[in-house]
Amino acid sequence: MAEKIIGKPAAIYDEFSRKGGAAPTATHYCPGCGHGIIHKLIGEAMDDLGIQDRSVMISPVGCAVFAYYYFDCGNLQVAHGRAPAVGTGMSRAQDNAVVISYQGDGDLASIGLNETMQAANRGEKMAVFFVNNTVFGMTGGQMAPTTLIGEKTVTCPDGRDPRFAGYPLHMCEILDNLKAPVFIERVSISDISHIRKARKAIRRALEVQRDGKGYAFVEVLSTCPTNLKQNAQQSTDFVNNMMEKEFPLQNFRDRFDEAEPLWRDESDFSKSAIDKLYSLEDNASPEAVPDKDFRIALVKIAGFGGQGVLSMGLTLARAGCRDQRYTSWYPSYGPEQRGGTSNCSVVISGESIGSPVVYESDVLIALNQPSLEKFAGDVKKGGVILYDATISGVEVPKNVRSIAVPAMQIAKDAGSVKAANTVMLGVMMELGDTGLPEKVFREAIEDTFASKPKLIPMNLTILEAAAKWARENIK
């Protein structure tokens, strides 16, 4: 049929050596299939625009799975429906590549609908050529999302019935609701006059890519005479009369002139840049030193979210690091925290740490009632419980000291109710149950508030006030 009006583009191989077999210049497509024509139109546009070397063609799963037999450019073959995601990866990695995603209706509008929508919505730099032949060609003619109402396929043998199979999907119209796409058009390759228009649209989509301007989508109404059991005339008529009625040909959008090219930054792999990102020069502790004589401290800290339970644990861990102890911190996470309480485990040790999760603690700090109730029973003999004095208290195991600390009150008196956690740290510092010297607690407070230096003096004051309270009130 119409193929004669297109010459052989340079971007299409002369011989299809990847295909192999006896006829190296014949395609694997059926006679009358639309895929061959669309390939040529794309190849021609690649020639005209001088983008052959920059082009990366993505072959889908469908009859065009072997598109790479034909296109003389970089080629990827990918999983069913995932071409837009693969194209995204390629485009982000190789900013200058002209990414071309070539997909059928099953691939693009059924299994790959999400990837299609999302890549379009992100405005990925790629040209998507959507070959709508209303059927799953490759797998033997099953219903596609674009199958027309009443159209018979293997899986809707009596014709597509919208009561059971819904309606044809209109991809151009769907994508036209999105802001990001630069170019959207529906064309047909049913006959010569249609092919002329299709050629222009395909070229435009690739121009958008040549200039790095963003996402372009061309839906091509195409033929599958084999599965629709049509001869050449019937398939032309089907596209012109039936398909066009359901899928009107039109340009939906052409923002080529307004769209700005988007060129991405170069990657920086230098060590200095990464070091700087993590402020390695001015924010680091010395490495831990083994010390068999240091008694391991297992600390559990628990309370309401917002009471600074997790950050208090981190400050304690920082103190451990400052003292060159092996240290770990492990939080409750996710929905565990939703109920409003959270907890963390801190282990400070003279040798490498086994489990970072504390089941039985030497020190329990409880800032609310539920936490005290939940964890008091797990404190080891000889251990200590610090809880806020506003909590009514619970029964504690034998040989465990429990101390009600007016943490909220001390914090409030010193200027911030929120700093009850710092009060508890100050009491811990004074009690010495963690085996850490006082000095590292002060340093740890400075580390914790390094990014908000204004808060350092107040927290240090609270730390000292708490220590004083402990000296005066705890025997």
Binding site: A85, G89, M90, I274, T327, W329, G354, V357
Partner: protein, 353 residues
Amino acid sequence: MATQLIKGNSAVIIGALYAGCDCYFGYPITPASEILHEASQTFPKLGRKFVQAESEEAAINMVYGAASAGHRVMTASSGPGMSLKQEGISYLAGAELPSVIVDIMRAGPGLGNIGPEQGDYAQVVKGGGHGNYHNIVLAPNSVQEMCDHTIKAFELASKYRNPVVVLADGVLGQMIEPLHFPDEAITPVIDESWAVCGTKETKENLVSSIFLDFDKLEDFNYQLQEKYETIKENETVHEEYMTEDASIVLVAYGISSRICHSAVEVARREGFKVGLFRPITLFPFPEKELKGIADSYDCTFIAVEMSNGQMMEDVKLAIECSRPVELVNRLGGNLITLDQVMEKIREVASREA
């Protein structure tokens, strides 16, 4: 040497940055999300590429796209997300694309919960997707190793053109420990002999996993198996602790191996001859090394894992069932406790006495 307190999940990204990872694609899931967060906060600042994908399927296929261009690229997820990635991982293996995937295991099956587990072992170590392929699998057990193994993963992925999975769990992802930052940063080199970059030099290259011809696909499959043999020869890594005279050998990886390390110390103090064998690569599994122990000592093995004996099967295979293998495990998001391991040790020891 200087350290910073770093969360395990963040350490993964620190490793990736120093390893020259250029692209990160991911989708949120607890307990792996901080990997995504850390990438979003760091990659763009260094001009590197970050996309929050629409799903794990999309993410792994974005990995496929960027890996096709020869870039160092990664994604991370947890249980349900890993299941979604399996098709993509099979394609990566089939197309021989270097890629790094981090799995912060949570409890399953189904939605399960977000607690730590090691139940993805079989899925990740045996293949998981369709076809005769293997991932290289590394099992860190500390924040330091979360970073170091990620770096190693990129090195192995490039060396063997194979997907590499860093297999960790919720505890390793969520915990904070001091991290000694990497001493060097790698500037990756793109291998133009196979990569497709949208350049004249790489125009003839094709990334694909199709072999229509049965015999050709069979040949390719055998080639893959040869590659896996080479990997077994060269890359198997494990650690032993006090196994020399052990009559009980604990076998554990990841967070479980740390609990077992403590158990060995407690058991030794109590007079039990207990040692620890820790596989660091799970594929390749240190079969010969484990068999060596089984052949040399009259010992009982105890597989300690947060899964239903998935790793224990590999222990039995490795030692060809020549010694008894017991199982200590927890499931559902619970950690194995020191007491639990000790109880088993005492039980086995008393039986032997």
